[in-house]
């Protein structure tokens, strides 16, 4: 029987990890994901899992140990955030290049300097082209659900690519939420037996990882890698449908939407901000405003076709980015959306807002403000420039 528990997002992820029971977890503590591995190491100490828990001296070593363990044929997980993720950066590209199905939980947190332990997406956005599949959860329930699904996506034979589950530091990792935790056996059955592929420990079929490749093959190997990550798009949907069958929670789509069917304007955003924005949208729609919301759950591979389908009929769209695009025209989410829409004949005007940097609050009034801005832009097109929500100008 599934049970409803009162958990914060980090504990929900630790519960998922207990049920996944990976062969190896190598991790280094960092706020705000310390208590994921802290709780998990307790499961290890209490004999609740058979995991080899490797306490490494840095995040670079954590990912390196994960790579070794995964190439040796283990089911492998880790968790990190912010500076830790960036310190891992070199090894992240190796993990994806080796096509190792490692699952990494990232607690989205701002990057230094100045030092901030608070939330934004600068960390995972900085390594968005590292070859990891990236999914962004909106709450503790989704963090739990996506962690379990990430294992299936990463290990799928057509994907064989590491997956990063991004949950927002503090907003998700530290706030209590009611979370349905599925029965251990149900999760075990959903995940299936882990079958190592090209394992270094399979001495009857020796393989070499990491040999240097000259210009005659490197391009082809990278093209092949692209195929792997792009397959994650379909696989995420089919894994989601299967997950929905056993849990009743809707995972058939790689995005969540509200009100788009008859909307003129919409806000596109990711992660936990969706919940607040949803309340505002519901209220404003009651007073007859034709507005909607779209939240991509999957960012890499970017689900451009579906996003275009959802947005092309609108008149104006505001994309809310939660990372600072230093030197770029738009934030990373807006850049993707503008790119996806560029070759569509009839397309909406797109405006970019930066919000929630270093846990700057985005209050309901700010979503209200953005919707009013979009609606007024229908009469008079606004200047194409970066805008900031709740910044002290």
């Amino acid at each position: 029987m599934s049970k409803k528990l009162f958990l914060n997002g980090a504990d929900a992820v630790a519960e998922a990890m207990r049920q996944i029971n990976p062969d190896v977890v190598a991790a280094y503590p960092i706020t705000p994901t310390t208590h994921i591995v802290e709780k998990f190491s307790k499961f290890v100490a209490d004999g609740k899992v058979k995991t080899e828990f490797v306490t490494v001296e840095s995040e670079h070593s954590a990912m390196s140990a994960c790579i070794g363990a995964s190439a040796s044929g283990g089911r492998v997980m880790t968790a990190t955030a912010s500076q830790g993720l960036i310190y891992m950066a070199e090894a992240l590209f190796c993990a994806s290049g080796f096509r190792l199905p490692i699952v990494l939980i990232n607690g989205n947190r701002a990057l230094s300097s100045p030092l901030s332990i608070h939330t934004d997406h600068s960390d995972s956005m900085a390594i968005r082209d590292s070859g990891f599949v990236q999914v962004y959860a909106k709450n503790a329930q989704e963090a739990y659900d996506l962690t379990i699904q990430a294992i299936r996506i990463a290990e799928h034979k057509d994907v064989r690519t590491p997956v990063m589950v991004c949950i927002e530091g503090f907003q998700n990792t530290h706030t209590l939420d009611s979370v349905v935790v599925e029965d251990d056996e149900v999760v075990k059955k959903f995940l299936g037996e882990f079958e190592p592929v090209d394992s270094l420990l399979d001495i009857d079929n020796p393989v070499t990882y990491g040999a240097a490749v000259k210009p005659d093959f490197f391009f082809e190997i990278k093209r092949q890698q692209l195929e792997g990550i792009n397959c994650a798009y379909d696989v995420m949907k089919s894994v989601g449908e299967e997950f929905e069958k056993i849990t009743g929670r809707d995972y058939s789509k790689v995005y969540e939407e509200y009100g788009l069917e008859d909307a003129d304007v919409a806000i596109v955003l990711m992660s936990s901000s969706y919940s607040t924005a949803l309340g505002v949208t519901e209220n404003m729609r009651e007073s007859g405003k034709k507005i909607g919301l779209l939240r991509p759950k999957l960012f890499r591979p970017f689900p451009d076709t579906e996003i275009v389908e959802k947005l092309k009929g609108l008149k104006a769209v505001a994309v809310l980015d939660r990372s600072m695009p230093q030197g770029a025209k738009y934030g990373p989410l807006c850049t993707e959306i503008v790119t996806a829409l560029f070759n569509v004949g009839k397309r909406p005007k797109v405006y970019n807002f930066i919000h929630g940097i270093g846990s700057r609050e985005t209050y309901p009034s700010h979503y209200d403000e953005v919707f009013e801005f979009l609606l007024s832009s229908l009469d008079e097109v606004k200047e194409d420039k970066l805008r900031f929500l709740n910044l002290n100008e």
Partner: protein, 128 residues
Amino acid sequence: MTEDKKTNNKPYDASYQSMDDIPQAKGKKDPFVTKSWREIDRAGIIKDGGNSILYKTGNWTNKKLNFDPEKCINCNLCWPVCPDNCILVDKDGNMKGVDLEHCKDCGFCVEACPTKCLFFTDEKNKEI
């Protein structure tokens, strides 16, 4: 991968006489590229282990290693220091010479040899 190894060096050795000799210029298939990305092993993983013997690197050297069997006392001190398994010792422990197809002129064996019967000469290794 065995086949691929054979073709690896060739394009780099080719010297084109004029622009017309460059195959790409004529819209031909690039001779560098031998296999589609759909056919190669995932992630550049090498599945036929122990194949480095097929990849001859002896012509990367600047000096040639020589062996004088007259002076050799069969002490085998050269054998464990070679990083590339190029010291050829038979199963009775007799030093038989060096594998110039894979020797990379690091000089470790030269340092180790007490009788100086391993020595470099200033010429390219022509045996490859």
